[in-house]
Symmetry: C2
Subunit: 354 residues, 2 copies
């Protein structure tokens, strides 16, 4: 069958080699003659997987001493809640930047637990830019950011430097660029973009904050509970963790985050160049805040829609439909997407103007 | 390689046919030429999977009208919390039966949200029986039960008939026996026993209770939020749901829950018979409360340990070590365990006394 160019917004493309290994383990894992789906999470073979997964995160992101890596469940949607539960003090105030749908959801969950001060927002322009130059009150318990905004196609190029702890939802661009982990107290990321399949969520948590909040925290939402049990307080999502581990092995072999960043630059530059050069397309996000992961663009002439949709479909491009909040098109270009897939899309765009 | 007889306590054995289908979909799912691990959860192919999974639960368990089936994340440990969040009123009291480790954890989470009245407990006998004949105050918001206690090897044969809503954690025996769903307001179950691999949790919730609690509930813990979005409020654990769906298809084809129950009877009767007939073994749980899923037993003469361990290892039996709270042995016999595997274990036990 012809190769599908998978621009899906997530769950998204992973390397073919990872799929081969992942499929094999469903039949016979670690030469046990058992499927990875039927073994105990306490078995030595799986404990090794969990340990390696946590180590690979540390290696790939150069996580400094004093941080704990966890693989939990519930997606970033649970991360919104856990962040506030662990960091927002009784009666305290948290600062949030509202950069779109996901930031809003994070704000909503935090409000259940305390005061939220939205210190900046790009809602006035349908979130097509990243707010800058805002002030964060020094008595805020933390500042919460969303590093990349999948729906609107914006991304922080530099994170604001502030005097309060920073929590960042990096679900959609983690492992695609170098990050100075020491600048953050909590980083969290649903796996289903650059890390692995849906079903597990990565947390990188500064040890200092573990158990520090005086609030009573439900066990499953308490980072300390999970850290004390090496991410095995309850049965972990075995297979999603395993596939994430395989994918991180692959990333490391392929040159690590630096190589992923180069590839992301190459893909993004190729696609944004065509958007800018073509009279038929227009980017949605402010140029300086353009995401390298999710490229949002629209036709300048809507009557070309049918023709363009036919062209990219013929090119075997999949998953290009824009989110309903923005319309138009969205090309999600996660780590495993080959530059040749972007070429296929750009060629379809070029054909439209030829 | 020789067949492994997998008595693992969970994650546990699933049918070989399910593993074959599950592995194939990691390479090419639904003839899309894409892996199930790289497709959007909003794609028609996966929406169909989620819908079929929910329908299969209804069919297999004869779920009556007025109930919603959900596939969420977080395991029963999150179920402990969600149950209380959705059913325990501000200032109200919940009734719990303490039948061991899992019940205790449920009690702990409920205490964060209100008053807990432990109406019965078998802690006096290290949880080797199911309490009976207890009273539940009629003003309790609900009664919480744990249908099968994996660690101690006890199981409710009949559920108490009470005048308050009943919540039941059926993680370890769901789909192994007929249950009258109408007797419960919430049934929940971590998938990783009879349902599927680790990473998803089944909830069967009476529609009446959705949105009824006046407490403010975090989105991810609110059944109404998930019900309103057909279990897709956030990215679901795609693969664990898919494999659960495959396994339910298999169960239906194999005769449904009635057939699973017959097989469970056969396995349990074979093993308990040997325990009772052999002078070398002794069951841990009270005879009338013996679990059909987890058979706990000890040697009457500890000096035989080395010999017995050698015998069952030679028979390719795996996962027989008892939990540290009980010691001895635990044979977990979930739906996919063949009667021939129990024979292999019983033969090893017979050899010990021959």
């Amino acid at each position: 069958m012809a190769k599908v160019h998978n621009f899906s917004a997530g769950p998204c493309i992973l390397p073919q080699e990872v799929f081969q290994q992942a499929a094999a383990a469903v039949i016979n894992f670690d030469d046990l003659n058992l499927s990875i789906l039927e073994i105990s999470h306490r078995s030595p073979s799986f404990v090794k997987v969990m340990d390696e997964a946590r180590e690979l995160v540390k290696k790939l992101l150069e996580v400094p001493e004093g941080y704990t890596v966890l693989f939990l469940q519930g997606g970033a949607s649970t991360g919104f809640l856990m962040s506030a539960y662990n960091m927002l003090s009784e009666g305290g105030t948290a600062a949030y930047v509202n950069t779109g749908t996901w930031a809003k959801k994070a704000i909503k969950e935090a409000k259940l637990l305390g005061n939220v001060n939205v210190v900046a927002s790009s809602e006035d322009q349908n979130f097509n830019y990243i707010p800058k130059g805002f002030e964060v009150p020094s008595d805020a318990d933390y500042l919460h950011l969303t590093s990349n905004n999948t729906i609107f196609g914006t991304q922080y190029k530099e994170f604001p430097s502030v005097d309060v702890p920073v929590i960042c939802d990096m679900s959609s661009d983690i492992f695609s660029r170098k990050v100075n982990v020491a600048d953050f107290d909590i980083i969290y990321a649903g796996a289903q973009k650059n890390l692995g399949p849906a079903g597990t969520t990565l947390y990188i948590v500064k040890d200092e904050i573990l158990g520090r909040n005086e609030r009573s925290i439900p066990s499953m939402l308490d980072f300390k509970v999970h850290a004390d049990k090496d991410s095995m307080f309850n049965t972990p999502p075995v297979y999603p963790v395993y596939v994430s581990m395989l994918n991180m092995r692959y990333m490391l072999k392929a040159g690590g985050v630096e190589a992923m960043q180069r590839k992301a630059n190459e893909r993004a530059s190729m696609l944004y160049t065509e958007i800018d050069e073509s009279p038929l397309f227009e980017g949605v996000a402010a140029v300086e805040d353009r995401s390298q992961m999710n490229v949002t663009f629209v036709l300048t002439d809507d009557s070309k829609k049918e023709e363009f949709d036919l062209l990219w479909n013929q090119a075997n491009v999949s998953g290009l439909k824009g989110h309903r909040s923005v319309g138009g098109y969205r090309a999600s270009m996660y780590n495993a997407l080959e530059v040749s897939s972007v070429e296929a899309l750009v060629n379809a765009m070029k054909k439209l103007r030829s």
